[in-house]
Symmetry: C2
Amino acid sequence: MNEALELQLSEVVHQGDSERLADYLGSLEPHAMARQVCELSDDDQTAMLTALEPAAAVEVLDDIPEVERTEAVSHLSPEAAAAILHELPSDEQADVVGALTDDEAGAILAAMEPAEAEQLAQLASYPTDTAGGLMATEVVAFRSTAKVSRVLERLREDAYRLRHLDVQYAYVTESPRKLVGVLRLRDLLLSEDDHTLVELMRSNPVAVNEDASLFELRELFDDHAFLGVPVVDRESNLLGVVSRAAVDAATQEQAASDYRRSLGLVEEEIRTMPTLRRSRLRLSWLSINIVLNIVAASVIACYQDTLSQVIALAIFLPIISDMSGCSGNQSVAVSMRELALGLIEPFELKRVWIKEALIGLLNGMALGGLLGGVAWVFSGNPWLGFVVGVALAFNTLIAVILGGSLPLMLKRRGVDPALASGPILTTVTDMFGFFLVLSIATLLLPKLVTH
Amino acid sequence: MNEALELQLSEVVHQGDSERLADYLGSLEPHAMARQVCELSDDDQTAMLTALEPAAAVEVLDDIPEVERTEAVSHLSPEAAAAILHELPSDEQADVVGALTDDEAGAILAAMEPAEAEQLAQLASYPTDTAGGLMATEVVAFRSTAKVSRVLERLREDAYRLRHLDVQYAYVTESPRKLVGVLRLRDLLLSEDDHTLVELMRSNPVAVNEDASLFELRELFDDHAFLGVPVVDRESNLLGVVSRAAVDAATQEQAASDYRRSLGLVEEEIRTMPTLRRSRLRLSWLSINIVLNIVAASVIACYQDTLSQVIALAIFLPIISDMSGCSGNQSVAVSMRELALGLIEPFELKRVWIKEALIGLLNGMALGGLLGGVAWVFSGNPWLGFVVGVALAFNTLIAVILGGSLPLMLKRRGVDPALASGPILTTVTDMFGFFLVLSIATLLLPKLVTH
């Protein structure tokens, strides 16, 4: 049934009847639509987006994953792309244009109205996760001397446009764009007609600079019940608004991507992408990882003599490697969480060491005791149990402390902790773990082989 | 400097001067405040929350992590807890009460006003991630026959209460609580005074049932620009409102917790928790993992003869285990992402197999070729390179296909894929990997040892 449906969208596109196409798309659930659009060939996507009215094309683009949207827009003619962009609010325009190459973006901007293009180029130039990158430039602003009755009149005149914008606040400015106050639309609703805005507004409104980080915005919305916050330049001129929804979406994306980045998936991967590209995306991190693995395993190569005499050790090496990695990665996750919640600062290594050392000791003893017991029972030699147990206990301690510290150290050096913590952690703990088992075994070799 | 600050909050608490305490807390940045509160002893937390006005205590509780908040409330006297809860909106009341044990919750409810307690008990009984669990019962509702002028009057009379609520919509009901329409507050603002609500409202408003899942709510807010959606029972009676912010917060928490759950951190861990509890939280998953690791490594024990003759194989076993785990976990993350985006349905295993088999082949050949080359150079024996390379290539293929399928299969069986995918994946791929290297090596043993 599914394949029948998928066939249908490309069929409908090929028929070239735009009205039928719009009806067909409208009849689909958003998720089903997104999937079918993702599965169209590039040419069919272009044909579909060009055949639709710009307003309908925008709705399609809104529902597909960002990485697919960028590609679809890049394949359109600059004129078609410009017409579609025109239907989007400014912050979403900037997201789309910002994800394109400079050449592609330039061509589209050249096809837009000069005023719109200039504003958009400015917006797209802000880094994504800053107030400038997240803000929309559509704001409702009035002079401070305006009367409520006049403002309501203006709002009613402009009702049609306002209904299509996510407007929650009216801003009050002086000498032309300097922000001096803010009003919730419902403050207007609940007040008398003959007041002036300067009487009603909250003065010295909370505002952020265009380069405020996502983290600062997150903190601000956590501390205040605002639905949006105005963005100003250094002279307090009003530039735009960052909505709570934009900050929530960006934070959500960041949290979900921590998990993917911890597995080396730096770019968003969707299964409709070309296979070679998906393979390359994953391989770039795997190939670093395999080199680190080989480096770590080279420790084993130094102890081949010991291994050849106590072959049972080979069974326990992968277990010690894997378990130390698991224990360490738990600490990584706890530190990432505490950093995100602001419960810890990157310089507080000592605090993490103290807090993690206890856990490392307890869990090391529990896991080391368990594995040591298994090694004893399996080999019948208590000394083998001792070697394996002590090595795992001590290596768990190291892994837990290192795992807790790495995100803080990497963050201080400006390295992405989600991406780099795992490989560094497992390489170090593998090397230590192999070294511990094999060097203790070498020291106790007579006890291990006499049995 | 930090320790001086931490000392200070407990000192201020000990002085017993509530005004000074409130001033001191007000002077702190929210994050600094959260940290210091988390680091207080249980008794000091109780003393602090009891000394503060309920409204101020609520602000403190709002800023600390949920798990700490639950504990702090559970240590309060039921009367003090009831007074603090009274200051919270209904959905947050329900979150706090829902996290307590039944006895603790019962004692607090008994100390509240009966009407408030009854409503709260009802709210707290809904599962957390459903519309019932996420909704607030504070709604602005009017009869459909009301005139705009009368409604505005009523709103103005009620302005003080409304200013403290996150109200975006007015709902229109008939025969007493049946939902028939919805109005944005700004529709009221932009319309003439003598209209009745039935003329202005949007009829047949989108509403959800109290048992709608977070996923359904997420889809609804993705498809519509609503700031909130009404919750109704089977007879269309209005029960409450779920805000976009509540759904965003719940989704965000879910996304971040996928990463933590993939490492066995089921409950939120904060470093101010008692060490033994933190140790137990982490150990419960680690101890399952170590048993699975031992099971997997038992494959190696079956091939001790081969290993003792080709000791170099022991170097490559941990590498094959780790690399297969990495490749497989990447596929797990891509499937989790596609499930979350709705780009794939749990029954579409065949699609995943086809899409992943190609990646597994490509990446398997690349990684197997690399590791095989290293093994050849290291040992000087091309056959050792062949064994290691083929085993890693084939095992990567298995890991990538299995990793992509596991989240779908687990989801269909109602098992949490974030929690269970990793351990199952690594156990299976370890066993296969060890079996492949060692059984191929056994077949080719003459080639490996003659050299």
